[in-house]
């Protein structure tokens, strides 16, 4: 009996010992040695890594406030949480290792101590029939309104609702209501089933509540809640945007569309580019609010227009976000003195479009982070407070506006959590020393920078992209079609001449 007890203890101890080895190697850097979400890397992330000691888990199949099932924990380890710093470990850990580490991280909280209790997942049922056509989406939108989603997520789902500036998580850190138009960044996955599960379970630790009670209290039916999930899914594209390297700007014959709402833009292909935080030069920025820009371009014979669109929960400057900015500065490690994070300020939203000062001959491009003294860059800088200015940047610290602000013009619209800005300029300008001369038929390097003022972003605290390319397509000349025809006709004529001469009687 005693030897059996001893064997059992050793067996159980071996499980968590193996799990601890996996945890220390792969997890502790973010989640901390004691599982409290305070690893070395934690202060460079928003949201922070999970604190396991409270046993509060965001993505589960169980009711609000309940513990997760083992399957929930394994799923988080395998797939990670998109939109956060938690990666998927399926390809990195063996089956044995992932089970061991889940067993180990349950030891961080006494809530898991009663091993006879097994958390039970909710019965989610199955999606209703009838597809997700117009009628289903109409019902979904109706209940999206009546259960109050717009209060945080906004009328068009971009996370710009009236309560959005006040949101915080259990640890009083700032948190964003999800931008429902970017389902590839949903923490629990972007499929309709995933969204429905979140509506039923809520996201513990965050302001997102569970709506299961509403079904029990007959405020709505399960089918209607499924329709809400289908409606939310419909706000995002059918596939996550893929990144292409070259923006093609077709030549158009009509006048240049200088307004973001011009119908000409609906016929132009859009290109998506992801943005990440500027983490190279102090003051660094580890959690930018703008996750990407969508770019369209067209040109006429003598002018170029670029339409840049990005989601931004706030039209800055906006004083209702000042408390949020203070929370961001307190939660995120910064390069300021540790005892005095910067004071929140009323900063504008900004966009910068960057090109080299001259089109390079080969592949060498200036330093992507705003160039340097020997290889400067040409930028169009747009601000929500003051329009666009063109100029030359020589590194992060030096920007010289061109005379008179340059010749770039801007028109901007802010609509329900989204900026749409059109920047337009003549291809060739008089100031050749300080402005890029744009040419058709060449791959012109281009990069983007964005600042969300109401997230505390200003100066070097920004979101950046790497170099991509912009190519102004030249229209196909008529000779491309005519010369083969002429060549064929000539060949035919020559061939017939040869045959005729050969067949001539001697």
């Amino acid at each position: 009996m005693i030897s059996a007890l001893l064997a059992l203890t050793i067996f159980v101890a071996q499980d968590t010992t193996a799990g601890k080895a996996v945890y220390v190697k792969w997890c502790a850097g973010c989640h901390g040695d004691a599982g409290a979400g305070d690893g070395e890397a934690a202060r460079y992330m928003l949201p922070h890594p999970r604190d396991f000691t409270g046993a509060i888990y965001q993505i589960r199949s169980t009711a609000s406030g309940e513990l997760p099932t083992d399957a929930d924990l394994l799923r988080a380890v395998d797939q990670g949480l998109p939109g956060t710093a938690m990666p998927g470990w399926k390809t990195r850990l063996s089956d044995r290792e992932r089970r061991d580490v889940v067993a180990y991280l349950k030891t961080f909280s006494t809530f898991f101590a009663d091993t006879s209790v097994h958390p039970k997942g909710l019965d989610f049922g199955r999606p209703p029939g009838g597809g997700s056509g117009a009628e289903a989406l109409r019902v979904g939108r109706q209940f999206y309104d009546s259960i109050g989603c717009r209060k945080c997520h906004g009328d068009l789902g971009r996370g710009d609702g009236p309560s959005a500036p006040t949101l915080k998580d259990d640890a009083l850190r700032p948190i964003f209501a999800a931008d429902l138009t970017q389902n590839w960044r949903f923490n629990g996955g972007g499929a309709v089933e995933d969204i429905y599960h979140r509506l039923r379970t809520g996201l513990d630790g965050t302001p997102m509540p569970s709506f299961s009670d509403l079904v029990e209290q007959k405020f709505l039916t399960e089918e209607q809640l499924w329709r809400v999930a289908q409606y939310v899914r419909s706000l995002s594209p059918s596939e996550a945007p893929s990144v292409r390297d070259v923006i093609h700007a077709p030549q158009i014959t009509e006048s240049l569309p200088r307004s973001p709402g011009d119908s000409a833009w609906t016929r132009v292909d859009a290109y998506w580019f992801p943005l990440v935080g500027q983490v190279i030069r102090k003051s660094r920025w580890f959690a930018p609010a703008v996750s990407g820009v969508s770019v369209q371009a067209v040109h006429t014979r003598d002018s170029l227009a670029l339409r840049v669109v990005w989601d931004d929960r706030s039209q800055s400057p906006d004083s209702s976000w000042l408390t949020h900015i203070g929370r961001v500065f307190a939660a995120l490690a910064g390069d300021d003195s540790a005892s005095a994070p910067p004071a929140p300020g009323l900063w504008p939203d900004q966009l910068a479009v960057q090109f080299p000062l001259t089109i390079p001959q080969g592949m060498e491009r200036p330093y992507f982070l705003m160039g340097n003294a020997t290889a400067p860059v040409y930028q169009w800088r747009w601000s929500s407070q003051g329009g666009a200015v063109a100029g030359v940047a020589r590194g992060l610290d030096r920007f010289d506006p061109a005379a008179g602000g340059g010749t770039v013009g801007a028109q901007a619209v802010y609509d329900h959590g989204q900026w749409r800005v059109v920047l337009a300029r003549a291809l060739a300008t008089a100031d050749t020393a300080h402005e890029l001369q744009v040419r058709t038929g060449r791959a012109i390097p281009v990069a983007f920078f964005a600042w969300d003022g109401s997230n505390g972003e200003h100066g070097t605290r920004m979101a950046v992209s790497t170099w991509y390319f912009l190519a102004l397509d030249e229209p196909t000349p008529a000779s491309v079609f005519i010369s083969p025809v002429i060549a064929m006709a000539l060949t035919l004529a020559l061939g017939m001449l040869v045959v005729w001469r050969a067949q001539r009687p001697k």
Binding site: G54, I56, S64, G65, E66, L67, F111, S146, I147, G148, K151, C152, P162, S163, T166, L167, D170, G202, L203, D204, G205, T206, P207, M208, P209, S210, F211, S212, D213, L214, Q217, F219
Partner: protein
């Protein structure tokens, strides 16, 4: 020889295991579960809570985003961080017996629910007490969306939504905890504090700063007064028989 050794060891073991318990443990084992009726018979500790200095101003609440709530107020509503009565009386102080109740004594929680109402986009009451296992009924009197999020360490948290007037949600709490924080995320100014206790020996001061804890058996108790902004204070009170005792608390405003 072996047989004698075995009987000596066996006898010693039997003696160790089967020694009758001393009197106090026997009595406590018999009086394990206390009903509410027993509690009525005990003594009362009462007092007043005040503060010295000037109370900080409660910030006003901008309810422009929720017209239905804003309409319920004539004067702009303020947060309830410090609610002061006449002569610096302090309201919303949770006074409870922190220790001194005999170990092993169990109390049956009442089946009647404690009601928390959301009216005018504020919680009523702002500070409340409840027993472990007693139902908390959360009621929405506003025709707007509220979510009720409980942030707790010793208890499991929850976050549920009530989009319309008349909705009710019931929850119970399994462990003592001072305090479980309740908040609404749609209306960031809404806060309530829930003290969960294993016994009925707690009270919340009213606008006149007074509290009264009834039914205490004789003994020495540590009483704690908790205020959301001014912190906590403790005092030791000894109770004998049915004679009432007075214990006042004075906080320093900051």
């Amino acid at each position: 020889m072996n047989r004698r050794l075995f009987s000596v060891i066996g006898g010693a073991l039997l003696l160790a295991v089967c020694t009758p318990r001393d009197d106090s443990t026997a009595r406590a084992a018999a009086a394990d579960t206390v009903t509410v009726e027993d509690v009525q018979a005990g003594a009362t500790i009462s007092g007043k809570v005040r503060f010295t200095g000037t109370a900080p101003r409660n910030p006003s609440i901008d309810m422009s985003e929720e017209a239905a709530c804003k309409a319920k107020y004539k004067a702009p509503p303020t947060e309830e961080n410090v609610v002061a009565g006449a002569a610096n009386a302090l309201a919303n102080v949770f006074v409870y017996v922190k220790s001194g109740v005999p170990a092993g004594q169990k109390f049956t929680a009442p089946t009647a629910a404690v009601v928390l109402d959301q009216d005018g986009c504020r919680y009523h009451p702002h500070v409340l007490g409840i027993m472990v296992g007693q139902p908390l009924e959360i009621l929405n009197t506003d025709p707007v969306l509220h979510n009720i999020k409980a942030v707790a360490k010793a208890n499991r948290p929850f976050n549920v939504s009530q989009p319309s007037a008349g909705m009710k949600t019931n929850r119970t709490f399994a462990a003592p905890e001072v305090m479980v924080n309740l908040e609404c995320n749609v209306h960031g100014w809404m806060k309530a504090y829930l003290g969960v206790r294993p016994d009925p020996f707690y009270a919340v001061t009213g606008p006149d700063g007074s509290f009264s804890i009834k039914g205490l058996p004789p003994g020495t108790y540590t009483i704690e007064a908790w205020h959301e902004r001014f912190g906590t204070q403790t005092a030791t009170v000894t109770v004998a028989g049915a004679a009432p005792k007075t214990q006042d608390f004075t906080f320093a405003a900051h």
